[in-house]
Amino acid sequence: MSEVIASPLPSTEDKPRRHEGGADIVRIGGVQFTWPGRNPFTLAIDGFSLGQGERLLLIGPSGSGKSTFLSLLAGIAKPDAGKIDVLGCDIARLDGAARDRFRAEHYGIIFQMFNLLPYASVIDNVLLPLSFSPSRKRRAEARGGGRSEAARLLGNLGIEPSLIESGNAASLSVGQQQRVAAARALIGSPEIVIADEPTSSLDRNRQQAFLDLLFTEVEAAGATLIMVSHDESLAGRFSRVADLAEIAQASRGGRS
């Protein structure tokens, strides 16, 4: 990013909870956002910050604005007001194309389900972010090339080698698909990994296994993890647990 604006938040913005981890990688302040449409949904975030290397579990029932929060954090949605500093850059002030580039460079994203392009091969699904991000591509090249890096991650995440090259994404089980999605989110070592209920489609045993693999890889990559879930039983594994309702105020049917 050419325009990296290091703008510390005003001192009046308090940081709710102290946490382990390094310097703040994300700082959000005074954000207002409304989904347009007949039933507008508004989310307001007064203040939120996240330290480097943290593993945050964000809890909240459905409809509490989790998806909107993640959209704002990932730069897919642009706030009407406020600041979203990520890695020292206020992405709220970037234009759409710059936010897309920023997302490609710095984020790995895992959805709840249907993460993969069903017609593409497993390896192509994993390699996808590299074609949008020069720096992630460079990092993958430095570790021996995109394909071998993809194969290494997939191997670590327990995908059999036979599936990696020849496997079609549509032929995988849900658990396998989520692990491939994790490999895609991690390839090229982005700084931030966002996971939107990645385990909700898995049974309990698989949930644990998936999280074990995800945590190991996130740690190896030195990434910061934000995971959203409505399942509080996972809380023990995270360095920080937050309720979205404490961070953001959602309201329907007009601006609050």
Partner: protein, 419 residues
């Protein structure tokens, strides 16, 4: 580029609908090009039929009618011109040659034309090509016939075969001149003109077979045998029309006026080229209508493609969201869909063109035989290439419709993956 590969894989994943879309575009393009081919083929065929003849003279009638029956063997003469008038015209100092023709009989659906041996020397077609004999020679005996290439191949005739001429121009006739059979003396080489479907006999022979006929039927009381008729005076009393060559084409309008003002008999003289233009003016409306219809069919096919892409859009929102999540811009998604539409259209146009040429090559002999239409299998003209390019461009443009919708959806969906 992985994105291009993924776009193609996505298309391959929907191969059935994609193939049907390509097929419908291909068929519409085939129709459009085919109409154009037949149109230009017909014009070329007509224009190639007569060459080197400066004027055609017949009884007073519509110009088109005269041209159609005298050259194209379409329709019938309304009246004849007398032999005396013919001889009068012959004396015109501007005239280099004049060939009389006499129509009205047929042989198994092929028109029989009475004429003089000079016809074979003066009648030219396709930019001045003369008629040539594939076998045999012009008629030397009274009951000799020279047949066109199609007559020979379709009826399996060789030089020396006997044929019987029927009265009237219909395909089936119950009145036959079976008392005076003809001998095939020559077979003309293929010309791709109505000459191929004509039986040529001498003017005297036309006279001879009608000697004992009266008001359209044979009069048994006056029967004359084929041998006796040779002793009679067979100078025709009337002919149907005459083809005229001038010493200088500059005299064409003057001679035409002189003939049109001939006092003893109402006559029409036409310039074949100018009358053909009249014909094009007449059928131009129908051609325009045909082109418009085939244009509509192309538009329908493109709309079908847009519909196809639009209906797949919902199930592809997931695909869009995934691409957005890894950093694809909305404009990337827009261009993916535009390119998809363009590629489908391009493949359709390509397939349609290839199909048409395949069909042309396969059907050309049949069309030639059945309709006497020589449709040339030549590469598309510059204009046609422009039209094809225009269709591909229209395909890309049409792709904008679903693309803009996908663009809006991908902005509105944000991070949400809908199923």
């Amino acid at each position: 580029m992985i994105i291009v590969r993924l776009a193609l894989q996505s298309l391959a994943n929907r191969w059935l609908t994609a193939c049907l879309t390509i097929l419908s575009i291909a068929l519409s393009v085939m129709l459009l090009l085919g109409v154009e081919k037949v149109r230009t083929g017909a014009r070329q065929s007509f224009a190639d039929t007569i060459s080197g003849t400066d004027l055609i003279v017949g009884a007073r009638s519509g110009n088109l009618n005269l041209l159609l029956y005298s050259v194209f063997r379409i329709g019938n003469a309304t009246n004849n011109i007398t032999w005396k008038t013919y001889q009068d015209i012959q004396t015109n100092p501007d005239i280099a040659w004049i060939v009389p023709i006499s129509l009205g009989d047929s042989h198994r659906g092929f028109r029989v034309m009475g004429t003089v041996p000079e016809y074979f020397a003066h009648y030219h077609y396709r930019r001045g090509q003369p008629l040539t004999f594939a076998a045999g020679a012009p008629f030397s005996d009274l009951f000799d016939a020279v047949i066109g290439a199609d007559v020979a191949t379709q009826l399996g005739y060789r030089v020396g075969n006997k044929i019987v001429v029927a009265h009237g121009a219909g395909a089936v006739s119950f009145l036959e001149h079976d008392d005076k059979p003809f001998r095939v003396s020559g077979i003309l080489a293929k010309t791709g003109t109505p000459v191929d479907r004509t039986v040529h006999v001498s003017l005297g022979a036309i006279e001879a077979i009608h000697v004992d006929w009266q008001s359209g039927a044979r009069d048994p009381t006056k029967a004359v045998s084929a041998d006796d008729v040779r002793q009679m005076d067979l100078t025709p009393k009337a002919i149907t029309a005459a083809l005229v060559g001038l010493k200088s084409r500059l005299a064409a309008f003057r001679v035409q006026r002189e003939i049109n003002n001939y006092r003893q008999e109402p006559l029409s003289a036409i310039l074949p080229g100018a009358t053909l233009q009249e014909l094009w003016g007449l059928v131009g409306t129908a051609e325009t209508a045909l082109s418009a219809v085939s244009g509509m069919v192309v538009i329908t096919a493109l709309l079908g493609m847009v519909t196809m892409i639009l209906t797949t859009l919902n199930e592809r929102r997931r695909e869009m969201a995934i691409l957005r999540s890894v950093g694809a811009r909305p404009s990337t998604i827009l261009s993916l869909l535009v390119v998809e539409a363009g590629v489908l259209t391009f493949l359709g146009v390509l397939a349609g063109t290839l199909l048409l040429y395949g069909a042309l090559m396969g059907l050309q002999p049949y069309i030639d035989r059945t309709y006497g239409l020589h449709v040339a299998v030549d590469p598309p003209s510059a204009d046609q290439l422009k039209i094809l390019g225009g269709i591909v461009a229209a395909g890309f443009l049409a792709g904008l419709l679903p693309a803009l919708r996908a663009y809006r959806l991908s902005l509105a969906d944000g991070m949400t993956v809908r199923t």
